[in-house]
């Protein structure tokens, strides 16, 4: 699967609205790394590759992986096949942050990082609230899901109210943002997301076994020496944090969180130590393929990738669910 990611990424670099041949694309890219060995290209080529295509592909791959992992963790911790980090209000929080930025022009950090910092900050609000409660007492999975849904509603009404007062173009921007798009990807996001992803994988690997045991029930897990509240809280906070990061960079791209775990469970079973890396790979591939389709189908018009993932993903999921009825869900 890792190979597939790299092939998809490799191909993805060469796809775009501008007329660059694949050879040119790669020479520009590699020329940035090893300036001596490759011919020089005009600055607009370099701009296209380094500012438009490369960040888009790299951010897409990383965001896809992060979302895929988030889904695995949430479905396992909340014991709910529909759970994703979005269930806990991460995406609706981010949307509020974005609305505040677009409609009122208020942001935590000024300038370029305004939108991203707003989205990030607001998407962390629900999980902060939950952490606050979790530190005090034990909370069951059902309570967590319900309070997450409640949060989502609060955020979406806040959003509606803001949109009601906002002017047309700002509201349109909010709507576009909430579909999820990779156009605003930037090179500086790549190292941030990459480091985050590595840490994320390490933490889930460490917690994976305990989370697997917790699926047998909290009492069982506790009787096996697991600090149930700690593991659950940590997993939730880490997953929400990472998803918030991904959402801040690319908008709330839906469905990857939901789809990747379900499909991968059919491939490698439900043990988290194997499921998580597989779902990460699958999430990456799904987002990259969707993005390529988004770039090419109506070229030169680009579609928002968030809409395309669900469009491709949903049929795959339905097909998988019905075709392998013999396997356990």
């Amino acid at each position: 699967m890792v190979v597939v990611i790299f092939v998809t990424m490799g191909y993805s670099f060469t796809v775009g609205t501008a007329n660059l041949t694949p050879r040119e694309s790669y020479e520009v890219l590699l020329g940035q790394l090893f300036p001596d060995h490759f011919p020089e290209y005009p600055p607009n080529y370099i701009f296209i590759m380094m500012n438009l295509r490369a960040p888009r592909v790299l951010v897409g791959a990383l965001v896809g992986a992060i979302l895929g992992i988030g889904g695995c963790i949430m479905q396992s911790i909340l014991k709910n096949p529909l759970a994703t980090p979005y269930t806990l209000g991460v995406s609706s929080g981010a949307a509020v942050g974005a609305s505040i930025y677009f409609i009122f022009g208020i942001s935590i950090f000024g300038g370029h990082a305004g939108l991203i910092s707003n989205a990030f900050f607001f998407s962390l609000l629900p999980v902060c609230a939950m952490m606050f409660v979790l530190l005090r007492r034990t909370v069951s999975a059902v309570t967590l899901v319900l309070s997450g849904v409640a949060f989502s509603y609060v955020f979406s009404s806040a959003n509606s109210i803001m949109q009601y007062f906002g002017d047309d173009s700002a509201v349109a921007q909010v709507v576009f943002w909430t579909i999820g798009d990779l156009t605003s990807s930037d090179m500086w996001m790549v190292p941030v997301l990459f480091v985050g992803l590595v840490a994320y994988l390490a933490i889930t690997w460490y917690l994976g076994k305990d989370m697997d045991i917790m699926r047998m029930g909290d009492d069982t897990a506790a009787s096996l020496g697991i600090n149930v509240n700690l593991v659950r809280g940590l997993a939730l906070v880490v997953a929400c944090f990472m998803t918030a990061l991904a959402v801040a960079c690319a908008g709330p791209i839906g469905f990857v969180c939901l789809l990747a775990p379900h499909i991968c469970r059919r491939l490698v079973g439900s043990e988290l130590r194997w499921l998580v890396p597989t779902a990460a790979c699958f999430g990456s591939i799904l987002l990259l393929v969707s993005d390529m389709i988004a770039k090419t189908v109506l070229a030169p018009q680009m579609l928002p990738v968030g809409a395309v993932t669900a469009l491709i993903g949903a049929p795959i999921m339905v097909y998988m669910l019905y075709s392998k009825r013999g396997m356990r869900s």
Binding site: S76, D212, G217, T220, A222, S223, L224, G269, S270, R328
Partner: protein, 257 residues
Amino acid sequence: MKEEMVTASDVKFSYRGGELVLDGVGLRVRRGEILGILGPNGSGKTTFIKCLNRILKPHQGEILLQERNLEDYSRKEVAAKVGFVPQRSDSGVSSPMVFDIVMMGRRPHMTWQSGKEDESIVWAIMEELDVAHLATRHFNELSSGQSQRVLIARAIAQDADVLLLDEPTSNLDVRFQMEVMGLIRKIVDEKNVCSCAIVHDLDLAMKYCDKVILLNDGKIRSAGTPLEALTCETIREVYGVRAYIEELHGRYRVLVE
């Protein structure tokens, strides 16, 4: 006298400041003994058993595990000494495989990864409990009897000295009830461990338990050997039914009118 494994005295517990669910209960179990915890629904049996492995912390009272205060053990130490089979296990989104479930029992003894030794222990226990052929099946595909055996196998893999069983025979047909209780008897005898089991069936308690405690409204109504503790009076008082204890084919039975 055999070693005292669990000694609890004057345990009081209530959920979130509500009414007392346990009001001064206690018990004493030695190696090689099965203690039956009996009582009507809602009498505090499950709560009590969960206090014994510190899933719940009593407000008052003392619980000693091998003569050392339970509070002084670390989580992992408790887990290595006390195995627990809950009443129900639901596995949420997807259910693990039988082998993995039994392997979970090795967690208190692992540092990082399961080793070859853990694997061979798990296989041996699965053979012993006749679930080895189910190793790659998913838990939610099993029948009630099979899943109960798998959960007991996990508790044994834990290598615990105390087995806490919350209604090990619920949902089982007559034959499996006998089989599971017989199995517990065998494990307790052979491995020289002890067990506290919540039992609903008074007959099974008569047959398999060395001692019983009869709970009612969070208090102990009677305690002792099954014959001492389960009498016409105590049963009538606690369960509100008229019952007779009769000897039949060399063992005592509880006949409910």
